[in-house]
């Protein structure tokens, strides 16, 4: 079938699908990074491996 082509402004449906593509892509990227052995180590990159600093004056 030959696609019918005409100029038109993208509607709300296109915007919603675009948002869905961004969310799906971000989830895929983060998921692949998580399972990949060459991925970014988020624990280190986000500083989650550092022990929490005790509040000033707190008892050990």
């Amino acid at each position: 079938m030959t696609p019918t082509i005409e100029c038109r402004r993208p509607g709300l449906r296109s915007v919603a699908w675009a948002a869905a593509i961004v969310l799906l892509g971000a989830a895929l990227g983060l998921g692949l990074n998580h399972v990949s052995s060459v991925g970014i180590n988020m624990t280190i990159a986000l500083g989650l491996d550092e022990p929490a600093q005790p509040a000033a004056g707190a008892q050990p």
């Binding site: 998921g31 990074n33 970014i40 988020m42």
Partner: protein
């Protein structure tokens, strides 16, 4: 009518061209996300938690949007996402230039400086290696890794342009269109497989599965549409003329000298224009 068929051709060419480039760009970043994060960091625009999260998420967004364009599914929305990303990249490069920074754009890094790192299925590796030995490639001094990379890129380019040169006014089975989608889906699956580096037996099993799927798909299509749907003349013409041109473009983008400053902006704008065209002139039945 002629105008409509030209528009349909342009639509196909833009869709496949931009989609393919974005899948390539995503594959390069997925192969080495840490390097991409370093590249993003050089711009000095993103800090804190957004830097690693963005470096992990952007290749995924590029991959999904690129595949949507290639497969013709929600292509207007995907072109909108790609336009947004390109505007972001252009803005980032402009900001870096305003700070007098000379940065490599970190956009395409599929091969880096090592062509042997180019992702290829093991059976393709073996087949090209066998041809190389048989033809006496070692004695001629040809680089096997470079040869392999060229062969794969040229084959993909030929498949891509065989599709775009299909006369859109003739209702016919979308044989090449579906075949290309399958080839690229398999190739993308392989790139992801290599990038994630799972256990050896998983890689081996998936390779066999991908090969069997490709053969089954091809056999089913030939059974349904017959040999008449294979247009050898167009295929050969594209192989001789458009294939090498497309390869040169890809080679320069992926492994050539780094594009800095205005070069990057000019290239991004040249991809942004077709992407915007797709957003506003995409088929009416596509979101």
């Amino acid at each position: 009518m002629r105008n409509a068929s030209v528009k349909a051709w342009v639509w196909q060419a833009f869709r496949l061209g931009v989609g393919f480039l974005f899948v390539l760009a995503a594959a390069g970043k997925l192969r080495d996300p840490v390097k991409f994060m370093g590249g993003m960091d050089q711009y000095g625009l993103v800090h804190g938690a957004i830097l690693p999260l963005g470096a992990a998420a952007i290749p995924g967004i590029e991959l999904v949007a690129g595949l949507c364009l290639l497969l013709g599914w929600r292509s207007r929305a995907a072109a909108g996402v790609i336009s947004g990303l390109l505007l972001l990249f252009i803005g980032a490069m402009a900001a870096a230039m305003s700070k007098h920074l000379e940065l490599d754009c970190s956009c395409f890094d599929l091969m880096g400086s090592d062509p042997s790192a180019f992702p290829a299925p093991a059976f393709v590796d073996r087949a090209i290696g066998w041809l190389y030995q048989t033809a006496g490639g070692a004695a001629s001094g040809l680089d096997l890794a470079m040869l392999k990379m060229n062969a794969i890129l040229a084959a993909l380019a030929v498949a891509l342009f065989s599709l775009t040169s299909e006369p859109s006014t003739v209702p016919r089975p979308w044989f090449w269109r579906t075949t290309l989608a399958k080839v690229l889906a398999l190739w993308t699956a392989f790139v992801l497989l290599r990038a994630c580096e799972p256990a050896e037996w998983v890689q081996h099993g998936l390779r066999i599965l991908l090969l069997l799927s490709a053969l089954a798909w091809l056999a089913l299509d030939l059974f349904r549409y017959g040999w008449g749907s294979l247009r050898w003349g167009v295929l050969l013409g594209n192989a001789l003329v458009i294939g090498p041109l497309f390869w040169l473009m890809l080679y320069k983008l992926s492994d050539g000298p780094s594009l800095l400053g205005w070069g990057t902006i000019a290239r991004d704008v040249s991809m942004l224009l077709p992407a915007l065209w797709l957003v506003f002139y995409g088929p009416v039945d596509e979101a």
